[in-house]
Symmetry: none
Subunit: 229 residues, 2 copies
Amino acid sequence: MLNPSADPHLEKGIVTQLRGYLAQIDLADDGRLPPERELSAALGVSRTELRKALDVLEAEGQLWRHVGKGTFMGSRPLDTFADIAALARRSNPAEVMRARIVMEPEICRAAAFTATPEDIAEMRLCLTRSRQADTWRQYEAWDTRLHRTIAEASQNTLLLGLFDTLNAVRRAVTWGRLRTEPVKPLPDHHSFAEHEAIVDAIEHRDIAAAAAGMRAHLQTVERKLLDRQ
Amino acid sequence: MLNPSADPHLEKGIVTQLRGYLAQIDLADDGRLPPERELSAALGVSRTELRKALDVLEAEGQLWRHVGKGTFMGSRPLDTFADIAALARRSNPAEVMRARIVMEPEICRAAAFTATPEDIAEMRLCLTRSRQADTWRQYEAWDTRLHRTIAEASQNTLLLGLFDTLNAVRRAVTWGRLRTEPVKPLPDHHSFAEHEAIVDAIEHRDIAAAAAGMRAHLQTVERKLLDRQ
DNA sequence: ATATAAACCAAATCCAAATTGGTATCCAAC
DNA sequence: GTTGGATACCAATTTGGATTTGGTTTATAT
């Protein structure tokens, strides 16, 4: 066959054949379609030609492929690698505090519903350890763990993931901002009483007090943060 | 030996012996120390007694343990899963709805503070287009854009980023589900009135109504979602 | 020349076996 | 009767090899 125009025609035929096949089969929930080796056999075309047709559909954004995983319908799920770094670059401490005040009280409210005795025991451990901390670094470690334990107690992996993202951005934003006071937290540090009020509210299933306590606590933190600037 | 006071003394001895051993060995980079069975043999004590000593050190927060992983020095690392694919895999539609109900009303409250006339104009555009949608796919596109416009109006890049993350997980989790309805949204679809109430509240700077409206809207969505199961 | 088939590669997945902290049971010692 | 030690077992996790899968190369045939 000397005329090369016949070949594109043939390839387009494979593409439309593949389109019809994909429209007809009801694929799995994850949108995965059969591996190329099976698909080429089912369609009666060679794997090479099938891959050309898949290239077209992939260029159209109708499917995406990944080695070892397979070929999937729909658009490729967002890759979230630069997320935290990008967010931290465009954000600032004030925004982080505002976001915390928006999110954490509601997470705390949900946690007051679902916290288990084990969760509350871990919260109490964090309270004790944060009081005993010898350095600000130790205190902040236990403070962070307390807040995350509360998020865990919500028993919602998605909320916990969002909390982790927020926390990662917070760490990235406040990176290098060393605390100016070398001393350890004083016994009358405002967070101690506020933290205990929150945990008490969670333990007594007082959801309103849990949310209000967390909001008041974070607003105090925000005020101290802005005063220092 | 009749005097039982010797036993507590002996246990404390094991704790100090363990402390010395841990201070002497240079453990791996990850801070992992030998499994209990080896450690008990190395220290010449039974596994039961060793575990008692480890309990003490764990209560002090100097080490942490996890089944199948091992025992590690230092404080428990926060296994953060901020990856969208990982989140979607471990989450489910019910969790996504709960997370939306926790987050979006508060984002909406913040937006009622800061929304500009341009933001509100875009919201109104979304309302109009969603009413005119010919297919569910089109409707969902405008619905999604309305919710994101509200998040944008909060003027907090971090909150917007968290909203985008939540939305990406929602798309990944609900992918392939709810394909059963080929018809387009009916004119009396509940979302139309609810959406308008939210935008009205934002426009009038009625912060409480904005948050309440969004919460009511999402609770309706959640109820419809669960009814269908 | 072009398409096909086959082989190979690296990334990802799968699966059974081994490891590990946690727990229960039985037994000896005092 | 209580305490401590040895053993066995459990569930969560890790490990390592085999398999699967998309991507690439090579040889062959038409």
